[in-house]
């Protein structure tokens, strides 16, 4: 069965890059959300197996999204991968503290992401 991945990232270019990287692996279907808000709207639409999210987004940021997911009875078991900029060590740390399963620091290499995705989903 295909694995559904939700990519939450406000930079369109970045989003496209992550999407392409994930789709290179077989058995994955990706969905995009351009903001934390859009992610909230997207969550009920499919059964997701993984959420890859940026931290720094306007309105609802990545940390708040993680908190929401982990606190929601229906979504709490969905693993999350945090993607953050190099400068913000603290943001990354907070994401992990909130229950993210892994993190990547931008800029990252394609195979780093693929390796992490596989590890987190458990294949």
């Amino acid at each position: 069965m295909t694995k559904n991945v939700l990519i939450v990232e406000d930079s369109r270019a970045m989003r496209g890059l992550i999407r392409a990287t994930v789709e290179q692996m077989s058995g994955f279907t990706t969905y995009e959300a351009g903001s934390g808000f859009d992610a909230l709207k997207a969550l009920p639409t499919h059964r997701f197996d993984l959420i890859i999210t940026d931290i720094n987004m306007p309105d609802i940021n990545g940390l708040e999204l993680i908190s929401f997911v982990k606190g929601h009875p229906q979504y709490k078991d969905i693993p999350l991968i945090v993607v953050s900029t190099e400068r913000s060590d603290e943001d990354k740390r907070r994401g992990m503290a909130l229950g993210a399963s892994g993190y990547l620091v931008k800029p990252f290499k394609g195979d780093e992401l693929q390796e992490l995705v596989r590890k987190v989903i458990g294949e």
């Binding site: 940021n61 990545g62 940390l63 993680i66 908190s67 929401f68 009875p73 909130l98």
Partner: protein, 657 residues
């Protein structure tokens, strides 16, 4: 450094040190005033810091170690203060004051004998104590001061946390907006809410959560930083499912202490009182014009009924009246300052003077926040000082005497200020020897102020203190002998349309009660007619007004009185006081009861015209001392009327000849 302190170097040091100390003293007085008002001018602290720093260097150069050491410590305290590591409060200003005093003493020692004699260990300890209290402060993040759920802070990104800190620094209020929306419509609803909130301030963060029933709804916790009031935010935003909660601060003081910067972070403006007086005058003239317009409006209505122009004028006149009232209130408010400003001065003075006369006395102050017109606060400074000096000199007994009477060694003077209706009451109370009214009477008789044979009530005897030329002190002491008698105190109070009252008990203590209107310039007055002339009676002094039938008036010892609820009320016929033609005697008389507590008087008038706001204007120097008249004012129809000085009228009525 040469151990030999020769005359010339001593002179050079002293000249500069005295200049510095004098400057510092001025700065410190300003600092105290600001501390009471709750503000904090970083420039003044900086100036004091620089002064002490110079003194440190100077004294070090000339080999005066005690001055140098104490300056160094004081400098550390001031540095902590200006960097916000120590908060400004009474203990801090008191410590700085004491340190400056000691530095002055040391400077005097040097001037006299070239040797620093005074001790500094106690001041040193005080400074250490203040500094020790302070050091915790610097570790706190401004967010720690917020009573905010940790879970809300844990999901902030670093940037959002920074934004929250900025909002806290800017003294914005932080609100938590809790919203619950339907799953089907939350995107629209949240957008609508966001738009409303963004119009009022900054949305620092938005936290979604599944809440109680995740199948049907979704919750959002938004943090809003804004300068708007709680009412405004609630009214804009609260609806079904949306709740606004104010995030409170843990500490009282919200402002982040100022970092040293050239720009003053104080949110207040210093205004010359003269400018406020001019503003007040202009408002006063506007009130006169408003009265005239109201009058014209009334006449127009009388002429053509409530139609056409009359209606328009009436409406416009009412609006003008309302807005003018707001403007007036605004100007009055700007002039209001907390009386605590002079309380601090008085506290310092008490400590000093009590020490000079060898008594152990403490001044307790209450009601520092009570506000009065700035000028009135200034004008009360000397009278209060004199009352307190009196308490120190004659009221509170020496420690030996107090011990003999079984009183605690430390004498207590209580200074209290509180609002009462549209007046402010200030009391000065001591637990001293009380005033012996017999002694007072004897002195008055000796000085020819009173006849031996006159019968006086206890109250009357006490009032003799307020007569000019009265003083029971045999020696004119350094402290209270500067020509300020109790009569001047009373005159000062009277000038402010206030009243002063004494309560005393021998062996127990004395209490002076001063009652003042809150502001002087524009007051409410009762307009009365006496024999075709019109007068204004300050409403603050009016207790009530009555209508009495002629037969209710009786005469006791040639004075007219009436019985009011079982008590005798002396009457004063204003037509007689002002030499006006005796009117036609009807059956009814109007009596306006004025005064306070036991000092009451019934002013007999012909007619009560109504209540009105008036602007008291001075009647000029030549007429200033006419008893019974406080000033004059103009009523709406260009009529100039005199404003009565109630206090002096009461004197007039109760005087025994």
């Amino acid at each position: 450094m040469s151990a030999k302190k020769d005359e010339r170097s001593k002179g050079e040091f002293l000249a500069e040190a005295e200049d510095i100390l004098e400057d510092l003293n001025q700065h410190l007085i300003h600092l105290e005033e600001m501390a009471v008002g709750g503000t904090f001018d970083p420039d003044i602290v900086n100036a004091i810091f620089r002064g002490v720093h110079s003194l440190k260097g100077l004294s070090g150069m000339f080999g005066f170690d005690k001055v140098s050491g104490l300056s160094h410590q004081l400098e550390s305290l001031l540095d902590a203060l200006r960097l916000g590591k120590v908060e400004i409060n009474k203990q801090v200003t008191s410590t700085i004051f004491t340190a400056l005093d000691r530095l002055k003493e040391l400077s005097e020692d040097i001037s006299r004998g070239g040797v620093e004699r005074a001790e500094t260990a106690d001041v040193s300890a005080m400074i250490d104590e203040v500094l020790a209290d302070g050091h915790g402060a610097e570790k706190k993040s401004p967010i720690d001061d917020l009573e905010i759920d940790k879970s809300l802070v844990a999901v902030l990104t670093e940037y959002e946390e920074h934004r929250l800190k900025e909002n806290v620094k800017a003294r914005n209020t932080i609100f938590l907006v809790k919203a619950r929306f339907d799953l089907t419509t939350f995107d629209k609803d949240l957008t609508t809410l966001n738009d409303k909130l963004k119009g009022m301030g900054e949305i620092v963060s938005t936290l979604p959560s599944s809440g109680m029933s995740p199948e049907s709804g979704i919750e959002f916790n938004l943090l809003l930083g804004t300068k708007e009031s709680e009412e405004k935010v609630k009214s804009e935003v609260e609806a079904a499912g949306i709740e606004v909660v104010t995030i409170k601060y843990k500490s009282e003081k919200k402002a982040e202490p100022a970092a040293p910067t050239l720009r003053s972070l104080s949110k207040t403006v210093r205004v010359d009182i003269g400018k406020l007086d001019r503003l007040m005058n202009i408002v006063g003239e506007l009130v006169l014009s408003k009265n005239i317009i109201a009058q014209i409006s009334k006449e127009l209505r009388g002429m053509q009924g409530f139609t056409g122009l009359a209606v328009d004028l009436h409406k416009a006149s009412r609006t003008l009246e309302r807005k003018l009232g707001e403007l007036q209130e605004g100007v009055i408010e700007v002039r209001m300052v907390p009386i605590g400003q002079i309380f601090t001065r008085l506290t310092q003075a008490v400590r000093k003077y009590a020490g000079e006369v060898g008594k152990d006395i403490e001044l307790d102050t209450f009601g520092e926040d009570t506000e009065l017109d700035k000028l009135m606060v200034e004008d009360m400074s000397d009278p209060l000082m004199h009352l307190i000096r009196n308490s120190i000199d004659h009221g509170v007994e020496s420690p030996k005497e107090r011990a003999r009477r079984g009183k605690p060694a430390k004498g207590r003077i209580m200074l209290n200020a509180f609002p009462k209706g549209n007046r402010v009451v200030i009391t000065v109370e001591d637990d001293g020897a009380g005033i012996d009214h017999e002694k007072v009477r004897r002195v008055a008789v000796d000085k020819g102020l009173c006849e031996e044979s006159t019968t006086l009530t206890r109250r009357d005897m006490l009032d003799l203190i307020f007569l000019p030329g009265f003083s029971t002190s045999e020696t004119v002491s350094e402290v209270s002998g500067r020509g300020v008698g109790m009569d001047v105190v009373k005159k000062n109070v009277s000038k402010l349309s206030g009243m002063i009252d004494i309560e005393t008990e021998i062996g127990v203590g004395t209490k002076f009660t001063i009652t003042l209107p809150i502001t002087l310039a524009i007051i409410k007055a009762l307009i009365v007619e006496v024999s075709a002339d019109t007068f204004a009676v300050p409403l603050a002094s009016v207790l009530e007004s009555l209508m009495v039938t002629r037969d209710k008036i009786s005469t006791i010892e040639k004075r007219e009185v009436i019985s009011l609820r079982g008590e005798t009320l002396p009457l004063l016929r204003l037509d007689r006081v002002f030499g006006l033609a005796r009117p036609e005697e009807g059956d009814f008389l109007y009596v306006v009861v004025v005064g306070m507590a036991e000092r009451r008087l019934g002013l007999v008038v012909d007619r009560l015209v109504g209540q009105q706001e008036i602007v008291i204007k001075s009647i000029g120097d030549k007429l200033k001392n006419v008893p019974g008249v406080a000033g004059a004012t103009e009523l709406g129809d260009n009529e100039v009327v005199l404003v009565l000085d109630v206090e002096s009228l009461i004197d007039e009525a109760t005087q025994r000849r």
